[in-house]
C-alpha cells in the first residue's frame, strides 16, 4: 500500500499542476505558486517508504506485463539519497529566479518518480519504463529555460538519449529472451545467454550515455549549465546514478570477464584523467562541477570494471560503488545548490563558503568526511586487483591520482565561485537550513551505511593517523599545487594569458561534441538528398505504371472507321463467308 502512495502522491501533484491550466487565470496562478512552494512535500511518502518498507518484492499484475518493485541492498540507500536530493531541489525551486517554477517542479517530480522507479525496479520492463521516462523528463529539465544554448544542449541530449535508448531496448529484449525477466535472475540469464558479448556491449553503450563514460559524456557539460540549478543538481546527483544501477543489475559479475573488465576500467580511467584538464580550463562553476561528475563517475566505472574482471571482489565492489554513489550524489547536489545559495540565497558569504568547502572536501575524500569513508571502502574493495595495461601498477595506486585530479577541479571551482558576485534576496529560511544540514550530515549517514554492510565493505577507524595520511596525501598535494598555480596566475607575467584565466574558449564545454555536430549535420544533408532522390524515383515508377493510353486511342480510331456502314457490312460478309466456308469444309468431322 505504501508503494502506491509513494508513487501516486507526486504524480497526483503533477496532475493537479497540469490541470491548473483549465482554471481561470488568477486561481491558476495561486494554485501553481502554492504547488511549487510546497513541492518538496512530494518526496516525503517515498522517504517514509524507504525507511519502513521491508525488502520483499511487491508486484502489480495488471500493470504493464506485471510490474514489480523491491527495496534490496542496492535500491534502499540510493532511494534514500534520491529522496533527500529531490526534496532539497524541489525546495530550492520557488523564488529562485527561474521562470515557470510550477512547470519545473512538476518535471522534477516526474523525474523523481521515474528515478525512484529505476532504483526500486525488480523486473526488467519496469526498469526500462522508468529509465525511459526519466531520460525524456530529463530532456524537459534541460530545455526548460528555452534559451538558445539550452535548446542546443537539449537537442544533443535528446539525440544521445534516443541512441542510448535504442541500445538499452535491444539489450533488454535480448536479456528477456534469455529468461532474465526478473532482475534477480537477469545477471545469471545474461551470463548464460548465447549472445553474451553483444548484451554487455549494448549495456556499456546504453548506460554509458547516462553515466557519462568518456566518448558518450559530451552532453553532460552542455546540459548542466543550461538546466536551472536545482535541475542540474538532480541531474548530476541522482539521474546519472541510473546508468550505474543499470550496470549493477545486469552485468554478469559471476564469471571473470577480463576483456570487458579491462575495457570498462580503461574508459573509466580515461574519463577520470581527461575530465580534469578540460574542467580546469572552464570558468563557469557548473561546467567545472559537470567535469568533476564525469571524473567521479569514471571512478565508479573503475569499480564496475574490477567487479567484472575479478569475480571474488564483485560483492565488495558493488557495495563500495553504492556507498560511493550515495556520497557523491549528496555532495555533488549540495555543491550545485551551493551555487544557487551563493547567487541568490539570503545567507552571507562566509557560512555558504564554509559549508561548500565541507562538501568539497568530502568529495575529495578528506578525513572526517563521507568521501573519506567511501574512498577507503572503494580502495579496500579494489584490493590487489591488477590493471594489466599499466604495466603492473595495481589499481590501488592509480586511484589516488584520480583523487588528485578532483582536488584540482574543486580548487578551480572554489576560485571561480569566490570571484562570482552575489545578489542575496529574502528567500525562505527553512531550505537554507536544510541545505546546511545536508552539507554536513552525509559523513554520518555514509559511515553508518558502510558499516551496516560490515562483512563486505570495511570502514576505516576514524581517528587512526596512519590511514589519514594514506588517504589524504593526494588532497594535500592537490591543495599545494592549486595554491601555487593561483599565486603564479596572479603574477603580472601571466596576467592576460588565456591558460591562467581561461574563459572556456580553448576547450569549449562538451569538447568532442562540436566535431560530432558537424559530422551529424553533414550526414543529415546527405540523408535528405538521398530521400529526395528516393522520392523522385518512386514518382516516376508510378508514372510509368499508368496504362498505355495509345491502345485506347487506337481502339477509338478503329471504332470511327467501323461506324461506316460499308465497313461493318464488309466485316459481316467476310464472317458469313468464313462461317459457311468452315461449315462446308469440315463440318462433316464428328
Amino acid at each position: 500500500m505504501m508503494w502506491w502512495i509513494a508513487a501516486g502522491w507526486p504524480l497526483l501533484l503533477v496532475a493537479v499542476l497540469m490541470a491548473s491550466g483549465l482554471l481561470p487565470r488568477d486561481a491558476a496562478e495561486r494554485l501553481r505558486d502554492r504547488g511549487s512552494r510546497f513541492g518538496w512535500v512530494a518526496v516525503v511518502p517515498a522517504g517514509i517508504l524507504c525507511a519502513t518498507a521491508g525488502s520483499e518484492t511487491v508486484t502489480v499484475p495488471w500493470m504493464l506485463f506485471g510490474t514489480s518493485v523491491a527495496l534490496d541492498a542496492i535500491a534502499r540507500p540510493l532511494l534514500a539519497m534520491a529522496v533527500v536530493l529531490y526534496g532539497l531541489a524541489l525546495a530550492f525551486i520557488p523564488r529562485s529566479g527561474t521562470e515557470r517554477p510550477a512547470l519545473l517542479s512538476g518535471l522534477v517530480m516526474v523525474c523523481f518518480v521515474a528515478n525512484a522507479g529505476v532504483f526500486a525496479a525488480a523486473d526488467l520492463i519496469t526498469f526500462y519504463l522508468c529509465f525511459t521516462v526519466m531520460s525524456f523528463a530529463g530532456y524537459g529539465l534541460v530545455v526548460h529555460s528555452g534559451s538558445r544554448p539550452a535548446r542546443r544542449a537539449g537537442r544533443i541530449y535528446l539525440v544521445m538519449t534516443v541512441l542510448g535508448e535504442g541500445a538499452v531496448l535491444s539489450a533488454m529484449v535480448l536479456i528477456a529472451r534469455a529468461g532474465g525477466l526478473r532482475l534477480g535472475e537477469s545477471a545469471a540469464a545474461v551470463a548464460g545467454s548465447p549472445d553474451r558479448d553483444l548484451i554487455i556491449g549494448l549495456l556499456l553503450l546504453g548506460f554509458g550515455v547516462k553515466a557519462g563514460t568518456v566518448p558518450l559524456h559530451v552532453w553532460l557539460p552542455l546540459a548542466h549549465p543550461a538546466a536551472p540549478t536545482p535541475a542540474s543538481a538532480v541531474l548530476s546527483g541522482a539521474m546519472i546514478k541510473a546508468g550505474l544501477v543499470g550496470w549493477l543489475r545486469f552485468l554478469p559479475f559471476g564469471e571473470s570477464e577480463i576483456g570487458w573488465g579491462t575495457a570498462f576500467m580503461a574508459l573509466a580511467l580515461l574519463g577520470g584523467f581527461l575530465a580534469v584538464p578540460a574542467g580546469l580550463l572552464q570558468d563557469d562553476p557548473k561546467v567545472v562541477l559537470a567535469y568533476s561528475s564525469i571524473s567521479q563517475m569514471g571512478f565508479l566505472a573503475v569499480l564496475i570494471g574490477v567487479a567484472l574482471a575479478v569475480p571474488e571482489a564483485a560483492g565488495a565492489c558493488t557495495i563500495a560503488a553504492v556507498v560511493y554513489a550515495v556520497h557523491h550524489g549528496l555532495a555533488k547536489g549540495v555543491l550545485f545548490l551551493g551555487v544557487q545559495m551563493w547567487d541568490v540565497e539570503r545567507w552571507r558569504r562566509w557560512p555558504v563558503a564554509v559549508l561548500m568547502a565541507v562538501a568539497g572536501l568530502s568529495i575529495i575524500g578528506a578525513p572526517l568526511t563521507g568521501g573519506y569513508v567511501a574512498k577507503y571502502g572503494a580502495k579496500e574493495a579494489v584490493g590487489a586487483a591488477m590493471f594489466p595495461a599499466t604495466g603492473g601498477a595495481s589499481l590501488a595506486e592509480v586511484l589516488p591520482w584520480v583523487g588528485l585530479g578532483s582536488t584540482l577541479l574543486l580548487a578551480r571551482f572554489a576560485v571561480v565561485m569566490w570571484r562570482r558576485d552575489r545578489a542575496p534576496s529574502p528567500t525562505p529560511i527553512t531550505r537554507d537550513i536544510a541545505w546546511a544540514i545536508v552539507a554536513v550530515a552525509p559523513v554520518g549517514a555514509v559511515g553508518w551505511l558502510a558499516s551496516s554492510h560490515e562483512p563486505l565493505s570495511t570502514t576505516p577507524d576514524w581517528f587512526d593517523p596512519g590511514t589519514w595520511v594514506a588517504q589524504s596525501w593526494p588532497l594535500l598535494v592537490g591543495l599545494v599545487l592549486a595554491v601555487g598555480a593561483a599565486r603564479i596566475a596572479r603574477g603580472p607575467r601571466w596576467k592576460d594569458s588565456r591558460i591562467a584565466h581561461p574563459h572556456g574558449d580553448i576547450v569549449p564545454p562538451g569538447d568532442v561534441v562540436t566535431l560530432e555536430e558537424r559530422l551529424v549535420s553533414r550526414a543529415g544533408v546527405g540523408l535528405r538528398a538521398a530521400l529526395h532522390r528516393l522520392e523522385g524515383l518512386a514518382t516516376d515508377i508510378r508514372a510509368r505504371l499508368t496504362p498505355p493510353v495509345s491502345l485506347v486511342a487506337a481502339v477509338a480510331r478503329a471504332q470511327r472507321s467501323f461506324s461506316a456502314w460499308e465497313v461493318s457490312g464488309t466485316v459481316l460478309l467476310v464472317l458469313i463467308a468464313a462461317a459457311l466456308g468452315w461449315a462446308a469444309v469440315n463440318g462433316g468431322g464428328a
Binding site: 456502314w565 460499308e566 457490312g569 464488309t570 459481316l572 460478309l573 458469313i576
Partner: protein, 95 residues
Amino acid sequence: MTFVDLALLAGPAIMMIGLVGHLLIGDLLRRIIALNVASGGVMLVLLAVAAREDVPDPVPQALVLTGIVIMAAVTGVALALARRVDAVSDESEDR
C-alpha cells in the same frame, strides 16, 4: 440434277447477291431493294425445299407466304424511315 436442285442452288446465289448489294451500297433506297432481293433468295430456298417431292409440302409454302408479308411490311417501314433520313439530310445541306 433436277430443276429443284438447281433452284436450291439459285436460292443462296440470289440471297448472297442481295446481301452483298445491301451491305455495300450507300444509297438507302437501293439498299432496301437489295434487301428485298435477298429475302426473295431465302424464299426461293424454302420453296425449293418444298418442291423436292411430287406433292409440294404446304408447310414451307405457308412459311414463305408469311415471310413475304413480313418483308412487305418491313419495306414499308424502311421506306418511311429512309424518306425521313433523306429529308433530314436535305435540311442539313440547306442550312
